[in-house]
Amino acid sequence: MSTVAGTMIEAQGLSSPADYAAQERYWVSRCRMGDEAALASLVARHRARMIRTAGNLLRDRHEAEDVAQEAFLKGFRELPKLRDDRAFAGYLYRICVRLCMDRLRLKRAEIADLDAVQPHEGGTVENRVVIEKLLAQLPAELRSTLVLREMEQLSYDEVAEVMNVPVGTVRSRLHTARERFRRLWVEAMAG
C-alpha cells in the first residue's frame, strides 16, 4: 500500500503523504455529500490499482474493468457504512478483491484453450498461457492468496485484512497454494 501511495503522490505532484491523505479525506467527505467531482477524483486516483489487481486475479481485461467499476459503485453506494474516511482506499480495495473472489468461485475451473487466450502486456505469451492454465486449476481462496502475495506483493497482514481471514490462515493457504502451484507447474513442464 505504501509503495502504491508513494507512486501516486509523485504522480499527482503532492508534497507529502499527509497531503495525499488529507486530499483523500476531503474528497471522501465531499463524496458523502454527493459531489460528483470528488467522486471522479477518487476514481482517477484508485482506478489503476483496482484494475491491475482485478486483472491479475481474473486474468481478463474486460472482466477486470467490469469488476473495478462494480467495486467503485458498491463502494460509493455503501459509503455511509464507512466509519473512518482515512480507510477509504483499503475499503475500496477489499470490495474489489471480494468481488473478484466471488467471480472466481462462480467460474468453472476450466483449462483455458491456447487459442482462446488473448495476448496481454507483460511476460511472454507462452509463459502467460501456462500460468493462466495453472492458476485456473487452483481453488479461488488459494489462487487469490497466491496472486495477492506473489503478484501484488501485499504483506501477510494486508492479505489477511483484504480476505477477512486470520494471518495464520494466510500463512497456511500460501504454503498450500505454492506447493500445489509447483506440482501443477512440474506436470505442465513434463507434459
Binding site: E36, V43, L73, E121, G122, N127, H175
Partner: protein, 146 residues
C-alpha cells in the same frame, strides 16, 4: 525423522519468501538441501515456478473513459434510487400502519362490547334497574313445585 526434516524444509522454503529467516533456519535449509536430493529439486522448482508466476504479472491500464463510465453509472444508479428505492419501505410502512389500525379497532371493540350490550352491572350497582334475577322465595311458590 527424515520425513519430518523434509516437511520442515518445505515450510521454511515457503516462509523464506515472506520473512527473514534466522541463521539456524538458513543453516538448516542449506545443509538439508545438500543431503536430500528431492528437497534440493523442490527448492529449485519452487523458485523457478514462482519466478514465472511473477513474470506473468499483468499491468493493465484503465481504458479510455473508464472514469467517466463509473461516474455516469453512479449518476444513473442514483436516479433510479428515486421512488424505486424507497417504494418497498413506503409499502411496508403503509401495510404496517393498516395492520396497527385494524388491531386497535378490534381491541377497542372487544373491551367496550360488554358495556354496550348490557348495562346490567352499572344499573344494578346504582339501583336504577330492577334486579332481573330476583331471589326465589320458596314459601310463596305453589305447593306442587316444592
Amino acid at each position: 525423522m527424515f520425513k519430518f526434516s523434509c516437511q520442515r524444509f518445505s515450510r521454511l522454503l515457503s516462509e523464506s519468501r515472506d520473512r527473514e529467516l534466522t541463521h539456524g533456519e538458513e543453516g538448516f535449509l542449506s545443509s538439508h538441501a545438500l543431503r536430500c536430493t528431492p528437497c534440493a529439486k523442490l527448492e529449485s522448482q519452487t523458485f523457478d515456478c514462482l519466478a514465472e508466476l511473477r513474470g506473468a504479472t499483468l499491468d493493465l491500464q484503465p481504458s479510455e473513459g473508464f472514469g467517466d463510465g463509473v461516474v455516469a453509472a453512479f449518476r444513473e444508479g442514483r436516479k433510479s434510487l428515486g421512488f424505486g428505492y424507497w417504494s418497498p419501505a413506503v409499502m411496508g410502512a403503509a401495510i404496517a400502519g393498516i395492520a396497527v389500525l385494524c388491531a386497535l379497532t378490534i381491541v377497542t371493540k372487544t373491551v367496550e362490547s360488554p358495556v354496550r350490550r348490557s348495562n346490567i352491572g352499572a344499573a344494578t350497582r346504582f339501583g336504577h334497574v330492577a334486579n332481573p334475577f330476583p331471589a326465589l322465595n320458596l314459601d310463596s311458590a305453589p305447593r306442587q313445585l316444592r
